[in-house]
């Protein structure tokens, strides 16, 4: 890539985490703050939970993170991705956290040049793109990730330059802040609903349909007993 391009934020992992000014051309320096050293127009409002407002749609929050990966990272990550894809139960912990709608990890090794031949330009380093659609607060999200998925964090980001480890969370949050890119536009098809609400609704709907089918032929006495049992069984979905 172009070695003279000044469009850069240079972050020393240690100084960024200490909250000092990172190296780099003066007009490009960005100081890690509560809302991060991430790429934006520099004029973004943020919520009390540390989320920039353009990363929000209702209760849904977007996070987009690029990290630079060591040469061996793609080999390791491909094995990891293959294992996790083949053994979906290994993602149970992620599912149990119950605040992530969708997430993805993508290795970016080259980019389209935008020419008519549709050629691609190879990057000097591979980069790991992580995006998540979740609900809750940014800080709580990273905390949960760090404490519950500590080994997982090392598996995903251990090959990235500057990864400080998942714990203590302060350093990891600074790392994510420094590598996060703000959305210019974010959309959710059901912005008022959390992951738990969606999963609950998907579980509840067939239960309602099944109970309704049986209710048609029930006596009042039978309905009274079964209605109570139905509500008890469905209470976790309401």
């Amino acid at each position: 890539m172009n070695a003279t391009n000044p469009e850069i934020t240079k972050v020393d992992a240690s100084t960024a985490r200490a909250g000092t000014v990172p190296a780099g051309p003066p007009d490009q320096r960005k100081v890690p703050t509560l809302t991060g050293a991430n790429q934006s127009d520099g004029n973004l409002a943020s919520t009390t939970t540390g989320t920039q407002t353009r990363n929000l749609d209702g209760v849904a929050i977007a996070i987009t993170v690029f990290s630079t990966v060591r040469w061996w990272g793609p080999y390791w990550l491909k094995i990891l991705f293959a294992y996790l894809s083949a053994a979906p139960k290994s993602l149970t912990t992620l599912r149990d956290l119950s605040f992530i709608h969708f997430a993805r990890w993508t290795i970016v090794r080259d980019l389209p040049r935008g020419d008519h031949e549709k050629t691609r330009v190879k990057l000097k380093y591979p980069h790991l793109l992580f995006e998540s659609n979740f609900n809750g607060g940014w800080e709580e999200y990273i905390d949960a990730f760090s404490y519950v998925l500590t080994p997982g964090m090392a598996a995903f980001w251990g090959s990235s330059y500057g990864f400080p480890g998942a714990l203590p969370t302060g350093r990891f949050k600074s790392y994510i802040h420094a590598n996060e890119v703000s959305a210019s536009h974010y959309y959710s098809a059901y912005p008022d609903y959390t992951t738990t609400m969606v999963v609950s609704a998907l579980e509840l709907d067939p239960k309602v349909a099944a109970f309704r089918a049986r209710a048609v032929s029930m006596s009042d006495e039978q309905f009274a007993a079964e209605w109570s049992a139905f509500l008890t069984a469905s209470s976790r979905n309401l």
């Binding site: 070695a3 127009d41 969708f102 993805r104 040049r113 330009v121 380093y125 590598n179 309602v208 309704r212």
Partner: protein
């Protein structure tokens, strides 16, 4: 079991180089899409669960890297979590929101501001990057499934509140009426 459909959610990742002179206008356009309370144009594209546009100005260079890695262009990242297949979704997006799509990707290198629907679909497909690992909390549910079930849940909550004082007989009649087969 209406909500269990054959649809499987898929990730779409598109990275397009932004023409240097167009970046500020593109950023302004994207950030203004919801001005005056307008809905996102993505709300018209059926099968969109969550999506975003992100302008990537540079990669953060960590000091532990032996070499810096600069971008020649700023890139527009578009990601969407969609009801598959992805190819059909891209075609749908190009058809349903062509005017907005021209304003967005027409500012990218290799895409004309007057691009046709078919040309745009081909352009976006050529700019796709394969996703390594995709997680979905509800991989078998389409957007319509999710909305339908959320509606059922809301109605059920209201129903339980409304019928607390009713007799079993009245509750049964009301339930069958509220949730028709």
């Amino acid at each position: 079991m209406r909500w269990i459909s054959s649809t499987v959610t898929e990730p779409i990742t598109i990275l397009s180089p932004i023409r240097t002179e167009a970046e500020a206008a593109l950023r302004q356009y994207l950030e203004g899409l919801r001005n005056d309370g307008r809905p996102s144009p993505l709300s018209r594209v059926g099968g969109t669960h969550f999506a975003r546009w992100v302008i990537v100005s540079h990669f953060v260079q960590d000091t532990s890297q032996p070499h810096d890695d600069y971008l020649e262009h700023r890139y527009l990242l578009f990601t969407s979590n969609v009801d598959g297949p992805a190819g059909a979704y891209i075609k749908r997006l190009c058809r349903v929101m062509l005017p907005e799509a021209r304003q967005i990707w027409g500012r990218c290198a290799g895409c004309s501001p007057s691009v046709t629907e078919a040309e745009l679909a081909a352009y976006l497909s050529s700019c796709q990057t394969k996703t390594g690992l995709f997680f979905s909390a509800y991989p078998q549910a389409s957007v319509d499934d999710v909305r339908h079930c959320l509606n059922t849940r809301e109605r059920m909550i209201q129903f339980v509140i409304k019928t607390q004082a009713l007799s079993p007989s009245s509750t049964r009649v009301a339930f069958i009426k509220e949730f028709p087969a």
